[in-house]
């Protein structure tokens, strides 16, 4: 091999080395972010049209109520995880022409909207939505309301378990509440400390203002969340609300873990043995003059409203459960 050939080979080796390195970085960063293929999860997070009201093919709980609203219809909005409930409420109580859907999203004049938690809280303060169905507001959302002179009324209409999730191949099935707090405070940083494999723990968090992140901050109370900067090479733990992940738990490579030995199934949530259960609320501006807001939220707590919540897969309010 002459000198020129060796020089060209050396240059090619450098370029190929970088190409291989960049490909590896891309794979490392993006592989965990591939969309989950579970159809139920996709439906809950993206496909609004699978839970449309007034649609024979809809997957919502189809209840027709004697309580009907005909005019001054409140705009109802909320968290994506609670959208099937919002839609079923509208289906039960609103006239059919109250909803318009353009194939991908609700049009501006539709009385059913789906902005998700952060935007929904802003919308109810700004007056763009009248009632939102969400988890409790974050401190920032309460502050935004206060800054705008809005006092929010939170009516608890149902409850749901706050669950922790790990990869399906993680041998850890049960953790105590204290262990979870120690994971998120950075005290435990390897799964081997908790009976698992010798892998770093990657404690995942959500966007500030999302319903589950607010619930997590409430769970941690005054304990600061610390993330391991090298955790991304380890095995993750995350959190969500049970209903939102139940399908992916059934069909995907994710499992919910028991807390203090109690698995978050519906029976354990309803009887109070699962330790972290959060209410979700119908939230409205106390000064909103729409006359249908109060009757509508009261109907949500009626037998029909609570039946929709239960049959959708959530837990009705204990006192109202039939």
């Amino acid at each position: 091999m002459n000198k020129l050939t060796k020089q060209i080979a050396a240059l090619a080796a450098v370029l190929l080395g970088f190409a291989a390195f960049d490909t590896a970085i891309y794979e490392l960063c993006t592989k965990p972010c591939l969309p989950d293929q579970s159809s139920g999860m996709q439906a809950k997070s993206i496909e609004l049209d699978r839970y449309l009201p007034f649609d024979d093919a809809s997957e919502i709980v189809d209840v027709k109520s004697e309580f009907q609203l005909t005019d001054e219809l409140p705009v109802i909005d909320g968290a994506a995880a609670l959208y099937p409930i919002c839609s079923a409420f509208v289906n039960a109580v609103y006239p059919e022409d109250a909803v318009s859907f353009d194939g991908t999203d609700f049009s501006a004049e539709s009385k059913l909207q789906m902005r998700n938690t952060r935007a929904a809280y802003k919308a109810v303060v700004d007056g763009d939505s009248d009632i939102i169905i969400c988890a409790e507001p974050s401190e920032e959302q309460l502050q935004y309301a206060a800054d705008n002179g809005v006092e929010l009324e939170l009516v608890p209409i149902g409850c749901e378990a706050f669950v922790f999730l790990v990869n399906g191949e993680n041998p850890v099935d049960d953790l105590s509440v204290d262990q979870i707090k120690r994971i998120y405070s950075g005290e435990y940083n390897n799964w081997s400390q908790l009976g698992g494999e010798n892998l770093l723990i990657n404690p995942l968090t959500r966007n500030t203002g999302s319903g589950s992140q607010t619930a997590m901050l409430s769970f941690m109370k005054d304990t600061e969340i610390k993330k391991n900067p090298f955790g991304f090479i380890g095995s993750p733990i995350g959190f969500s609300f049970r209903y939102y992940v139940e399908d992916v738990v059934e069909h995907g490579n994710v499992k919910m873990i028991s807390l203090n030995g109690v698995y978050p199934d519906k029976d354990n949530i309803a009887d109070g043995s699962y330790p972290i259960v959060s209410n979700f609320y119908a939230v409205y501006d106390k000064s909103n003059e729409n006359p249908n807001i109060k009757p509508f939220t009261e109907w949500m707590l009626s037998g029909e409203g609570q039946r929709i919540i239960e049959e959708t897969g959530y837990i009705p309010m204990p006192a109202e459960k039939e």
């Binding site: 240059l11 972010c33 191949e169």
Partner: protein, 45 residues
């Protein structure tokens, strides 16, 4: 190719590779910053 030109080309290739790596890393972080927590757990370890 004399040694001087070769070293210069080698340096340029290395610099280009480093720059491409940094740009790729930044673009990847921006594109995937809203990665679903569920997908991350399901596709992770």
């Amino acid at each position: 190719m004399n040694d001087k030109i070769f070293k210069r080309l080698l340096l340029m290739c290395t610099a280009a590779g480093c720059i491409a790596t940094i740009i790729l890393f930044i673009i990847t972080m921006i594109m995937y910053k809203d990665c679903s927590i569920i997908s991350y757990i399901a596709n992770g370890r």
